[in-house]
Amino acid sequence: MNTAEFDTLVIGGGASGMAAALSAAEEGWKVVIVEREEFLGGILHQCIHNGFGLHYFKEELTGPEYAERFSDMVESSKITVYLNMTIMDIMKEGDGLTVYGLSMDPGMVRFKVRAVVFANGCRERNRGNIGIPGTRPSGVFTAGLAQRLVNLEGFVPGKECVIVGSGDIGLIMARRMSWIGANVKAVVEIQPNPAGLTRNIVQCLNDFDIPLYLSHVVGKIKGKERVEGVEVIPLENGIQQPEKMFSLECDTLLLAVGLVPDNELARKIGVELNQETGGPVVDSRLMTAIEGVFACGNLLHVHDLVDFVTEESSRCGKFVSEFLIGKRPEKQYRTNPGKNVKYIVPNYYEGARENVFYMRTLIVKNNAILSVKVKGTEIYRKKLRHIQPSEMIQFSLKEEDFKLIKDKGVMEVSIE
């Protein structure tokens, strides 16, 4: 069996993995990226629409363009890249980690490394996860699979289409399907508010006269061989109104019903998972409870913008570098999601440096207040013009913010 030694191994060569690898390599470490597809860039390749890079590059790019900026940087760096390789196994061995990667050429490789970064992204929730009843015909696709069939393979999944879920992926696929001559009959959203960005509602639905059914669910899929239609049921105060059910004929159903971290591998090595995000529990330096194992990007929690993925993952690369030179945080304390907060990442903070946090709220509100308390003492307060669950909130606490408190302890973040 081939063996190879590196300081750090990054699992996944998408936006997250490339940023983490570049930032660790900048510090002079020997870094390897293992990517299972035949190219770097991950899911960005199928996202041929624009809107990427506004925060990070201050310009508007398509997904492949955004990916290319980073893959060019990786290529001109000293980072080693294995493409078409799948990580099969990862285990703690001695004071380092052993990782097994599988590919056609050079076959199985055993990597001996000091640190591993999980940056292998997320996957789509599917029909089974949301339990849509009915028959099991062909023509039911997750939106991402349909996007791949269209944008990478040149196929049209179907002619008459209904989309479940008004998140950005659902909206972008509504437009994409219209552009290739399919008739998008409806986007069906269970919540009373659209889940995606307002600009996408306008540009992807309104411009194409596609109806958006808020507070509706697909109650049944019909069709024996191919999808023949769906039953749509309105909700009132969150309760299904079966007597108001109506049918839509279609041959294709696209499901854009959310993403979840692809945490199978992390689970394999015994990383504790956060029930709210589905990603690993990490400390203030994005390290899991297993020493030398880090996590970032959509594998840690699902982001709404790739720019944030890049920011978080670059930071992760720096934390890996600190770890490799032996720096450890002195003392860390829990961060807890409080009132109206779904989750906060990371799950720990430390007082002696700047801490960056990402979080999601459970509520939709204008002029909300974000409040951070440590043992009852408020150390940070921020006004937020508009908040909603689909939009991630970012804030950071500087070293001086913690000077307000004498007695450090659990931090609670709430929104009112």
Partner: protein, 490 residues
């Protein structure tokens, strides 16, 4: 079609037909297996609980019970020869009241009468020791260590592969629509106009056995489809039991079970409801809730959040509930094998023996084949291999090094093997390899599989289907449809 004349035609490529075909392949006769779908195991057998029953649900008065007991014992050798996933994990029946314990005692007596070895009546402590995840309200139960689990479609595929290897002709997409007797044989015609001739006919048509019987002018009976909805939890469920967990059975069915499938997932079901339609496989939210509340009575930690998919199957039930296996009294050379519902899968190796004896009794001369080979190759699979084994697999065939389905660790070499074995639909590949069966349910690998099928068969991607007829995936290419003018300006 060159070989048109056969001694025996078996109608139905489900587990029953497959087992009979394989049995007959050990004799010097010409046999043909006729399947109306595009692949075998695509009917009743694909949506089956996969349980090898423990021989205690009925006493020896039933034919199905006798064949169940006999069939159960034959699985170890079958596994050795055919390498389908099989495990004797044992069955636990959990009772929650003294009343239920009385029924359990009856089950124990059934098992005793059937001469089942190892059957054990358990008190509360013993049953909880066997199965710690059980509801603490359990009062006792039954333990049947000889019970087990298999992957039913893999079993069928292996049986058919073995039968074909030993000379049985397999004809898929062959739906029997008419039959005529002349001289000593039947002329059997398919819906597409193909004709074959056969001296004997075995009706193993599952849900459609009544229709086939009437096509041949044999006995009239009615198969009553009884739907079973099943719900599947992902590999990592913490609620996965060690044994198959049964409730105490009711009058109609064995109840809602919790099944630790042989491949690591957890299955909950099946419901049992009679219906008219033979092609309604829909699932309902109402039944999802019912199944979960019943299953949670057995294992309270089961969570709907862990569901990765659901599906429904139809049992081919007959009035009276027993199997109907026998030589037709109305048509010569016609053998009925109908009403094979639970415990049909368990009984099937014994059914094949039984049918072979009936053929003999009816005058078919059976001479053992000298070159009969009961074994088929054991295809290596990445998920069963350790890192060193994988390393040497890749040296032999680099395609083992390319993982196509990440959730179930299925390599390209395994997909190619499925296609070369004749499984050229997405479902066929799925049942053969498990690709698309994991957490993402094909979200990441469907496009890759389609490309491999196309490369291996030369089929155009647009003509590749989920499971044959009408179940196309994506027939059109960009540019096929006219796009509204105004959209190009948006």
């Amino acid at each position: 079609m060159k070989e048109k004349k056969f001694d025996v035609a078996i109608i139905g490529g489900g587990v029953v037909g497959a087992a009979i075909a394989r049995k007959l392949s050990s004799y010097d006769i010409a046999a043909v297996l006729l399947e109306k779908e595009c692949d075998v195991s695509f009917g009743v057998s694909k949506a089956n609980s996969g349980i090898i029953h423990g021989g205690f649900h009925h006493g020896p008065g039933y034919l199905k019970s006798r064949l169940e007991v006999q069939g159960n014992r034959m699985f170890d050798q079958l596994e050795e020869e055919l390498h389908f996933p099989f495990k004797r994990c044992g069955i636990v029946v959990a009772a929650f009241s003294e009343e239920e314990m009385k029924t359990v005692q009856q089950l124990y007596r059934n098992g005793e009468a059937n001469k089942i070895i190892g059957l054990e009546l358990c008190n509360r402590a013993r049953i909880l020791e066997l199965e710690p995840k059980l509801n603490r309200d359990v009062v006792g139960g039954l333990y049947a260590p000889a019970g087990g689990i298999i992957e039913p479609y893999r079993f069928v595929f292996s049986l058919v592969e073995s039968a074909v290897k030993n000379g049985v002709k397999l004809l898929t997409d062959f739906e029997v629509v008419s039959a005529q007797r002349s001289n000593d044989h039947y002329e059997i015609r398919s819906s597409t106009g193909d004709i074959i001739f056969s001296k004997w006919v075995i009706n193993a048509a599952g849900l459609f056995a009544d229709r086939v019987s009437s096509v041949f002018g044999a006995e009239e009976f009615r198969i009553i489809p009884r739907k079973g909805e099943e719900f599947l939890l992902g590999r990592d469920s913490s609620s996965r039991p060690e044994h198959v967990i049964f409730p105490v059975p009711g009058a109609v069915s064995k109840g809602i079970l919790v099944i630790p499938t042989v491949e690591g997932t957890t299955m909950i079901g099946p419901t049992a409801r009679e219906q008219e339609s033979k092609d309604d496989f829909s699932t309902t939210e109402e039944n999802l809730n019912k199944v979960f509340s019943s299953a949670r009575r057995l294992i309270p930690s089961l969570s709907q959040r862990e569901i990765i998919t659901s599906f429904a199957g139809l049992r081919p039930a007959l009035k009276g509930g027993d199997f109907y296996i026998g030589i037709s009294g109305q048509q010569p050379g016609f053998i009925q094998v109908a009403g094979i519902q639970s415990p049909g899968l368990t009984a099937v190796p014994a059914i094949a023996e039984y049918v072979k004896d009936l053929l003999k009794k009816d005058g078919l001369v059976l001479t053992e084949k000298i070159d009969y080979d009961p074994s088929i190759p054991d295809l290596p699979r990445i998920r069963y291999s350790d890192n060193n084994e994988i390393d040497s697999l890749i040296k032999e065939n680099p395609a083992f090094g390319r993982i196509v389905c990440r959730c179930e660790s299925v390599s390209e070499a395994e997909i190619v093997a499925a296609v070369r074995n004749g499984h050229t639909t997405l479902d066929g590949v799925k049942f053969y390899t498990r690709a698309q069966m994991g957490k993402c349910q094909g979200g990441f690998c469907t496009d890759r599989i389609v490309k491999i099928i196309s490369r291996e068969t030369g089929m155009d991607i647009g003509s590749i289907t989920k499971r044959g007829r009408g179940t196309y995936l994506a027939r059109n290419r960009i540019g096929d449809f006219e796009v509204k003018d105004e959209y190009s300006r948006v």
